[in-house]
Amino acid sequence: MIQSVIFPKPNTGPRLSLNSDELQFFDMFGFIVLKQFFTENEVEKINEELEKAKAITFADLPFDPTIPSSDRLQTIQLSHSYSPFIFTLSEDERVYGIAKQLFGEELIGHQCHASSFVGDTRWHPDHPPINPYPDHRYGIKFGFYADTLTADTGALRIIPRSHRQPYYGDLKKMPGISNPENIEAFPGFACESNPGDVVLFNLNCWHASRGGKAGRTMLEIVYYAYPKSTDHIEQMRGQVKWSKQLINTRTDDKSAKPDYRREWFLNKENSPLRASWIERQRKLGIAD
C-alpha cells in the first residue's frame, strides 16, 4: 500500500503518469477523475471523428434510441481512415503511460471502443459473474464522454473501494444489487465529468449509471496486467470468452457489425506498441 499521501488536487493538462497523491487515491478507492485530461482542441477532434464514425455506422441502420444497451449494443465503428485519433488513442503516451505506471511495461492494451448508450446501467464490476475475484491489480479502464454528465444524467457511479476484497465479494452477496431498480439503493459516488475529463477506474470496481439521455457516447480504453500465473491466465481467458458472449447476446440481425477489431489487429500502421500487445494476446490464446 502506498503510505505517503496528500490528497490529489485538481491536476489538469498534459501528463504521462499519475502523481503520488493520485496513485494513493486510485489505490485506496479504485478510481480517479482526471480533469481536463484532453485539451479543448482534442475534444473537438474527438467529437468530429465521432460524428463521422456515427454517420458511417448508422447509415444503413439508424441509431435506435428506444432499445436499451442491455438488450442491444449500438457500437460505433471506428477506423483509422476516418477516426485516426480515437482509433490509436490506446497507444497515446498519456493514456498508455498511466497504464504502464500501474502495470509495468508488460501489459496488454486494447483498442478504444465507442458506444452510444441507451438506458441505465446496473451495478456490476467488469468481470464475468462466475469468475473468482482476480487480483485487485487485474485491469483498468479509461472512460470518457462526449457530453457533460451529472449524477442524474448518466455520470458513471462508482462504489469507492469496491475493487478490493472482501468488499468486492460482499457486494456480490447483496440481494438485488444487479437489479435495474436498485441503482439508487447503493451508495455510489457519481463521477461527474465534462468533455475532456477522464474517469480512470479499476475493472474490479462496482459501477453503474442512471438517467443518461439515449445516445450518450462513451469511449473506453482497457488495459490488463500481464498474467503471471496459470490462474490469472485462465481468468483472462474467461474474461475474453465472457466479453464475446456478452457481445453476442446483445447483438442481433439489426446490430451494426463493427469490424474495427480486425482492422486494429491487422495493424496496417505498423505500430510496434500495438504489435507487442497483439503478440502477447496471441501467446496467451486470447487474441480476438
Binding site: 485506496m28 478510481f31 469507492p160 473501494r161 469496491s162 468488499y167 460482499d170 451508495p187 459516488f189
Partner: protein, 314 residues
Amino acid sequence: MIHKIEEPAEIGHARTALTRTEVQFYDTFGFLILRNHFTQDEMKAISDEFEYAVELEFKDKPFEKDLPTSERAQCLSFTDSTTPLLVALAEDPRYYKIAEQLLSGEIIGAQGGGCLYVGDTRWHPDRVPDGRYKTAVIDKPKEYSRYSNHNFGCKFALYLEAVDADTGALRVLPRSHRQPLYGELRKIPGITDAENVRSLPGFVCATEPGDVLIFNHSCWHASLGGKSGRPMIAAGYYAYPRTEDQAQELRETYMHSKILSKDYSKEGKETEPLSEWNQNPNQSPLRAKWIEYKREFGYFDYKSGSLEEELKAP
C-alpha cells in the same frame, strides 16, 4: 458478516428491528437510512420540544451563529423534567432495540443530545484518536488495539430539517468502518483539514424530517454547506465490551467524551457526568442498567477517585 437477523413484524413507523437486508447493508457499508422512522406528527412534537430546549439553553447566553462547531459545540441539555420526549429518544425501542440488533446483543446507551451546528464538519470517525489520553483513569496503560472491533458502537442521527449535499447532509465514506480502510484513512495527512471535505468520495445521506440515519461509530463522516444553527439530535450506543481491548477502548472513549464536554461547555467545566440523565429521576430500569455499565467502565471515575465521592467531599 451479519451478526443477528431478526425480521421486523412490519415495516413502518413503529418498527423495532431491521430486515435481514438492512442489517446486511449496514454491515457492508457502515450506515443505513431509515426513511419515515418517525411520523410527521411525532416530528412536529419533537421539533416543538427542541425549540423549547433551545430557548432554555440560550436564555442567558445567546446562540452564536458565527462560532463554528469545530471551535465550540453549541449543544442542548435534554432533561426528564423539561424535555421528556427528547430525553426518552435513546430509550425508545425504535432506537435501542435496533442498536441491540446491530451491535449483536448487550449495549450501553447514553443520554441523547442535540446541537445547533455551525459550519462544515471535517472528516472523522466517532472513535478516539490513537493514544490521545493516557491518564490515571486507565490505570495500566498498555499498547492495545485502538480498533478493537468494527462494531464498537453506533449513532442514530435525526435532522429536524431537510438536508442534502450542499445544505449539511451527513457524508459518509461507505465501508470506512472496516479495516484496513479505516486505518488507511487515519494515516492520511490532512484528512481532517477543513478544505478536504470535498476531496474524498463521500456518499451524501440526504434526509427529510422523520428519517433516521444510523451509522457505525467507526465510519468516517463529514458535512458541508449547512446553514448556521442547523439542528440535529443524536443518540449513541456502545456494544458491551467482550474483550479487554474493547473495555480499554470504552474507558478511553468515556474519558474523551468528558474532556470534550469540558472543552465545549460554556463554563469550561467537566459537566457531562453530572447531568440529570445520570441521576435517572424516573428510575427507568433500562437507563439504570446502562448507568451501571458506565460506572463499570469508568465513566464516573474522576481524577483520584470517583466523581460522586468528589462531589460529596466538603
